[in-house]
Every structure is written in structure tokens, then in C-alpha cells.
Amino acid sequence: MIKFLIRRLLSMVLVLWVIATVTFIFMHLIPGGPFTREKKLPAAIMRNIEARYHLNDPLPKQYLDYFRNLLRGDLGPSYTYEGRTVNEISADGFPGAATLGLAAVGIALLIGIPAGIISALYRSKWQDNLAMLLATIFVSVPNFILASLLMLVFALKLRWFPAAMWGEPSQIVLPALALTGFPTAFISRLTRSSMVEVMQQDYIRTARAKGLSNLAVVVRHALKNSLIPVVTYLGPLLAGNMTGRFLVENIFAIPGLGRYFVTSIYNRDYTVILGVTIFYSSLLVVLNFLVDLTYAWIDPRIRFTDSGKE
């Protein structure tokens, strides 16, 4: 178990280093910079700006500087938000992002898992067909369309919820719902297929041969096993949900990280783009690590054999 932990931690650090390096290289591959796009600046001012952001240093030095800062947790200054650092922007945007993301994933789990189980148990009956029809529909509706439609119907026409405000609980409802559609549908499909597979396993037959009721078989013998794929998907889901928010935050004018990110794309604010990329990647890597721990907790074969998946 400890060997497993150490190996996972080491590979996490490696992955993050590679991601940071690759994004750094990307940054310098991009033609032009944040200041070349606007009206042609006088050469002297241009040089001043470049000196201020160390853009005229040789690349290896920039790389080392960037990494030294990165290790201290400093993502550098923003090019377009005068006088603000990427750290401040992230700190600003993260709480909104996290609240929304957790709310959406929470709802998705609460609805998706039971829906998937019911589908699997009533396989090919109307309950299953209905749930899977809904799931396929919601998998097919992009979140920015869903967000716009929710806004149109519930905020603009029915006026049940505010359209573009942030700070009160009632204002989280529509964006959270918009973000919940896809993960709920996806989780219920995932739960269903893994439940169907688990229910065909020999040990389920053994459990039934013991005389357990269908409910007891599902709860005691099938649930834990069939949630393994769902757990594996949670890391990418949470991270993907964060990126899915780019547009939803934009549509609902929520001051979240995603909104800054989209704005920084328009502005070619590279440090923000890279900072957010690294931030999200770290988040994903850490989440994946937590997922692996949960995985090991569920599955004794991993807990005791000191090896990872597969």
C-alpha cells in the first residue's frame, strides 16, 4: 500500500512537470504576443514592457525563472489585467468555480447512480427504456445550449430565477442544473452498464443461491463492485465539469475561473491561459490520485497486492 502511494505520488510530480514544460513550450510557439496584437506600440515602450515581463530574456532562463516561480506557487503576472497576478485571479475565480462544480457533480451522483441502478435492474423494461432515453438526450445536449435554454425559459420568460447575478443561493440553481445534465446522464449510463455486467457475474449467482433477496443482492454484493467505474470517472468528471463551466459562467455572468479563462483567450493573455491550464491539470492529477485511493479502498485486490490498476 505504501509502495503504491509513493509510486503514485512520484508519477503525479512527473506528470505535472511534463504538463508545465509542454505548456511553456506551447506558450512560445504561439505567433505574436499579448502586446503585438494591439495598435503598434512605439519600439521603446515595447522594449520596456518586454523587459518588465522578462520576455527578452533567453528562453532557457525564462524557463528556469518560470519554474522557480511555479515551485513557489507563483503563476506570474497577468498581461492584460494590469497589476494583477494569475494567482490572485485564480483565488478570485476558484470559490465560485468550486461551489458550482461540486453542486453540479453532487446532483449528478444523487440522480445518476440510482437511475442507473434502476435501469439495470429493470433491464429492457419501460423504466430502463425511459431512463436511457432521457440519458441519451441529456448526453446529446451541449451544456451551453442547455444553459441558454434554462436561462430563456426560467429566467427570462417565467422569471423564477435571476438571469445574471451571483451571490445568493437561488442564483446557483440554473447554472448548476445546466452543468448537471451531461454528468447525470453519463453517470447513469455508466452505472447501468457496469451494474448489468456485475449482475451477470458468478458471485451474484452465488449470493442468490444463498437465498438473499434481490434487494440484498444488489446492496450487499453488486453496488460496491459496480461503482468502481463510476469512481474512476469522478476525477475526469470533476475536472471536465470545471472546463464545461467556461461557457456556462460566461452565459450567466458568474465571476468564476472559466470566465477569466475565456476572456484571457480573447485577450491572448498567455500567463493566465497557462496558469489556468496548470491549475486545472494539477486539480485533475490530484483528483485522479484521490480516485485511486478510493479505488483501493473499495477493491481489496489493489489494497493488498501493492500494484496499481490493470
Binding site: 441519451t136 451541449p142 441558454s148
Partner: protein, 308 residues
Amino acid sequence: MEAGTEMELFQPLQRENEEGYVFAQPATTYWRDAWRRLKRNRAAMVGLAVIVFLVFLALFGPYFCPYSYSDQDLTPEGINQPPSWRHWFGTDNLGRDLFVRVLYGARISLAVGVFASLIILCIGVIYGGISGYLGGKVDNIMMRVVDVIYGIPLVLVVILLMVILQPGLKNVMIAIGATYWIQMARIVRGQILSLKEQDYVMAATALGASRRRILLRHLIPNSIGPIIVTATLSIPEAIFTEAFLSFIGLGVAAPMASWGALASEGVQSLRSYPWQLLFPGLAICLTMLAFNFFGDGLRDALDPWMRR
């Protein structure tokens, strides 16, 4: 006479010339079996019909319309018109007919979906095939690379690529194809790994078939089912990603407009002219739904593990 026939019944059976005696039934082939299952899946067949219909509309629809996608009508009676007989889907803020624009959008979305998933198919099959087939150290290194890419939210990768490549139809396809092959590579590798252990591959190896031959003749054809399914299901994903990119202004350049770009424009005027979002939005949903239904049906029909 009666007794005679009765006695003949107990004569030994002459195998070769005994009539009406079937020793073996014709085996149902994998593909015929799959097709039979697919045909029985109503949702998948509706999906297929919708796809065919959409492709038809995208290819020929614009020729039957009196407007082109860039015709403007800037008079007050021309801009932001609600749906009517003249303009089925209404007009936008430059007085352009939305129906034609949605039809052209279908060309872009479908093209991106198909070509991006072709790129995904090529990269994924080659990468996964090599990794799974060679195995050992090569496999290990190649899968580490996949892990690293998997560690970055893929949407970010696409966005970064688009920032580097600059918006444009071809670049959208390349960026999506270059990013979303991970899943395909993993599936192909998994298939190859499990197939490699099968007896017929061992037999081919023992008979001295070359690696190339084994890979092309045995391994790829036998993992073709999951590959087709993954490729089909990556079409809606590509369509979605393109819409997403266009929505944030990184997709196909104006005046051609993909559904994502149309929806993005629609959101700006959601309050006053909701149809400007509604029609492109519905088009995206309908197309993705059709591909998802069809892809799911294909998976159920082709997946040999589900066959029972």
C-alpha cells in the same frame, strides 16, 4: 409391405446420400448477426435515418433555397425577423436567412465530425496498435505519454492548439483529431492485448507470419467492432467540441458560420430574438442525439461480449 418399411427404418444410416439430413447449419456470420441486431434496435435505426436525412439536407439543401448564407437584408423589415414562410428559421441581425445558415452550418459540423473522427481513427489505431502489439518497454513508454495527456483536461488542449493554429475549418479538425485520439488508442491497445493471447494469433506466429502481417491480418480486423463503435461515438464528441470552440470564437471563421457560432450569436440576443439560438441549438442537439443513438445501437450490435 407395412412391416417392410418398418424394418427399413432400422437399417444403418447412409450418411452421404441420405436426403433431408442436415449435418451442419450455415453459421450466422458476425456481420450478418450484427446487422440483424442493429435492425431490431428502433432507436438506432431512427438515428441512422436522421443522419442520412441531415447529410442529404447539408449536401443539397442550400441549392433549393432562394438565399445564400451571406445575403444580407439590412432594412428594418429584414433584420431579426421571427420565423415565417419567407424565412423558416427567421433572420439574424444582418438580415441573413437563418435556415440557409443552419444548412451551411450542417456542412461544417458534419464535415468536422466525420473528418476529425477519421483523424482520431488513424492516430488512435496506429498508436494503440503499435503500443499493444509491441508490448513491453515500448508499450510502457507509450502509455506513460497517454497518461500525461490524460492528465490535462482535453478541452484545454484543444483550446491551446486552436490558439496556436488560428481559427479555420481545417485547423478545427486537426486540433480535435490531435487531441481526442486517446480513448481510441486505449481501446485498440486493450483489444490487441487481449487478442494477442488468443490461440489463433499464437498459431499464426508459430507458422512464421511476420509481425506486420499478424497486425494487419489478424489483430486489427478482429478488433474492428470496438473501433467502429468508438469512431462513431467520437463524431458527436467532435461536433460538440467544434460547437464549443466556435462558441468561444476559436472555430470556423466568418462569414461561414458553424452551429456553435450561430448559437453564440443567438445567445447575445437571447432576450429579444430567442429563435436565433433555438434553431442552431436544436440542430446541434438533434445531430448529436442521432449519432449517439446510432453509435449506442452499433455498440450493442457489434460488441461480441454483449452477444448472448
